[in-house]
């Protein structure tokens, strides 16, 4: 359904969102220029329901609007993202909400979208409600091959003792943009493993945001973002502990090639109430070109005193001693570098839910028959 194509002063997206595009004077957008979005064709792209016509996995059922309406936005509010510009944009585009309830040990779920080469904005919105003690592996696959923007909001409510293994595999195109929020609210005893991998997009802004509402939950975050050419990928993660004894284990990896730009900002909030929090955040960046640029910043706000919080950030090239070890076994320099790069990426990719292997993420990320 094509929407207003009226000429206006404001970029179409700003008009749609009802707010100007964030600019780089705002701290959260300091490194990230949304200029590519200004030229977006003013069209809302139709979105196919990825579960339309397929039987739902065991343990997964649809929520009807009366059920989901009161739950919608809860995780966005909990993670302080309800007012974020990409969220406002998604809301304004008014996508159908794919709202699912998970009970017991559910079978794996795959949600795949492909914006293809169509021009315009594709808005997707998912709400996953995991009941107490339930568990689910879900893989979201977002693809694009043209001048479009995919706006994705995934909201998750993880009840007590629920377990979610969430993967986001997003492979784009130099003309394509991805704006994604993954907002999770965790109750005590729940476990979240969230693995995201992005590559190929001209512009990515990814915000994994997690709130342990009363602590005592486990959060495992893994991220891999690859940039090449003129691409820009920006992950702003946010973790907050609303109570004691919560755990965070976060590793964010970057591969920066060409003139690509990578931004990582990892916020972790440990307020007074969150004693005995155990949080670790590691950011590792691999710089494969001297024209590429990496900005990485932990943003730890730790008020509680009885906590273990570790963080580290490294930016490096391929390790010369590792390359030499492989070469000394007859493996040529190029192939050795390739093997190391694969190994580096695979450490994150292998944590995607099992069905990701059917998408051959390594081969596609590295653009070869890996």
């Amino acid at each position: 359904m094509p929407l207003l194509s009226v000429e206006s002063q404001l970029p179409w997206l700003a008009e749609l969102a009802g707010a100007p595009l964030p600019n780089r004077r705002e701290e959260a957008w300091r490194f990230t220029d949304l200029a590519p979005l200004r030229d977006l064709e003013p069209t809302l792209l139709p979105v196919v329901d990825p579960l339309g016509g397929v039987p739902l996995p065991k343990g997964v059922s649809r929520l009807d609007p009366a059920e989901w309406a009161p739950l919608l936005d809860a995780s966005l509010v909990a993670t302080g993202s309800e007012a974020a510009w990409p969220v406002g944009l998604n809301r304004a585009a008014d996508p159908q909400v794919l709202a699912l309830r998970v009970t017991g040990e559910a079978d794996p779920l795959e949600l795949a979208w492909d914006a293809g080469s169509a021009k315009g904005l594709a808005a997707l919105r998912v709400l996953l409600v995991l009941e107490p003690g339930s568990s689910l592996d879900v893989l979201q696959v977002v693809n694009s091959s043209g001048a479009n923007c995919t706006s994705l909001i995934t909201e998750v409510l993880l009840a007590e003792n629920a377990r979610l293994n969430l993967g986001v595999l997003a492979l784009g195109h130099g003309m394509a943009s991805l704006l994604a929020h993954v907002a999770v609210k965790q109750e005590p005893g729940s476990a979240l493993s969230c693995t995201t991998a992005t590559a190929g997009w001209g512009l990515v802004r990814l915000e994994p945001r997690v709130m342990q509402s009363a602590g005592s939950a486990q959060t495992r975050l893994r991220g891999l973002q690859m940039v090449d050419g003129q691409q820009l990928a920006d992950t702003h993660s946010f973790m907050s502990f609303g109570g004691p004894a919560g755990e965070l284990d976060q590793v964010h990896k970057v591969v920066a090639n060409g003139s690509g730009r990578s931004v990582f900002n990892g916020a972790v909030k440990v307020p007074q109430a969150a004693q005995q929090t155990n949080a670790s955040q590691l950011s590792r960046s691999l710089l494969l070109s001297d024209r590429a640029r990496v900005d990485t910043k932990p943003e730890l706000e730790i008020v509680a005193d009885d906590v273990k919080c570790a963080h580290g950030a490294t930016v490096s090239q391929l390790q010369a001693n590792e390359l030499f070890y492989l070469q000394s076994r007859g493996i040529g320099a190029d192939q050795a570098a390739h093997l190391l790069l694969r190994g580096y990426c695979d450490e994150v990719l292998r944590e995607l839910p099992a069905m990701a292997s059917a998408w051959h993420p390594l081969a596609r990320l590295l653009g070869d028959g890996a």
Binding site: Q319, A320, N321, E322, F324, Y325, L326, Q327, S328, R329, G330, I331, G332, A333, Q335, A336, L339, L340, R342, G343, Y344, C345, D346, E347
Partner: protein
Amino acid sequence: MIRSDAPVLLEINDLCARVEDQPILKGVNLTIRSGEIHAVMGRNGSGKSTLSKVLAGHPAYTVTAGSVLYRGENLLELAPEQRARTGLFLGFQYPVEIAGVNNLEFLRVATNARRTEQGLDELDTFAFEDLVRERLGVVQMDPAFLERGLNEGFSGGEKKRNEILQMALLEPLVAILDETDSGLDIDALRIVAGGVNQLAGPDNATLLVTHYQRLLDLITPDYVHVMAAGRILRTGGKDLALELERDGYDWVDQELARLGAEPAEVG
């Protein structure tokens, strides 16, 4: 086994090398013929690993003088991978851990690189699995190690066994084993030494870098060399190792003083 008519595999002449601006090798001479087992001993910091790595082509070291002929050809102008493909093998004193690179796949890529150079067919994953399972027997290694990242989280001794497994797969002409015995428990030492003996034959040669007689009790060297201050100070038969075991390296200082060289740094 010494045969004076055996072909020379490696001929090192007056080899000098430095790292950054620091000279480390200061004129190494060593000739290795096929069928021979050589042991290189010497104090910490005397240059044994440096010699090993220079031979393997490590980019951190610059050769400043001298020559190395490998099967009669200039070794130093070959890239490290080419040296390996043509049969030069270095068992590292400190094997590198590479997380994320699967051990089995690494072994297969390496084996195929060597096979291609030898004019043999590449092995597909199935054929390679058969081969690797057979060679695992040489070092009595658990196949579970194949599924792990390359040396990732391996204990010191497990890394050394993995080095010998690589040697068993690559079937080198010249194997340089840099302190492969250190870090091995008593049984593992016997197993690894047995593996090296099994792989040593009339057509290849082995250069063992070691500090201890206990390895040489299990692998009998034809020659024992003592390195000091970046050169080979003395060469003898297997009895020289016993003499070192008994008398230590005190004589090295006098010998170096006599030669007017700086004493080796003790690291």
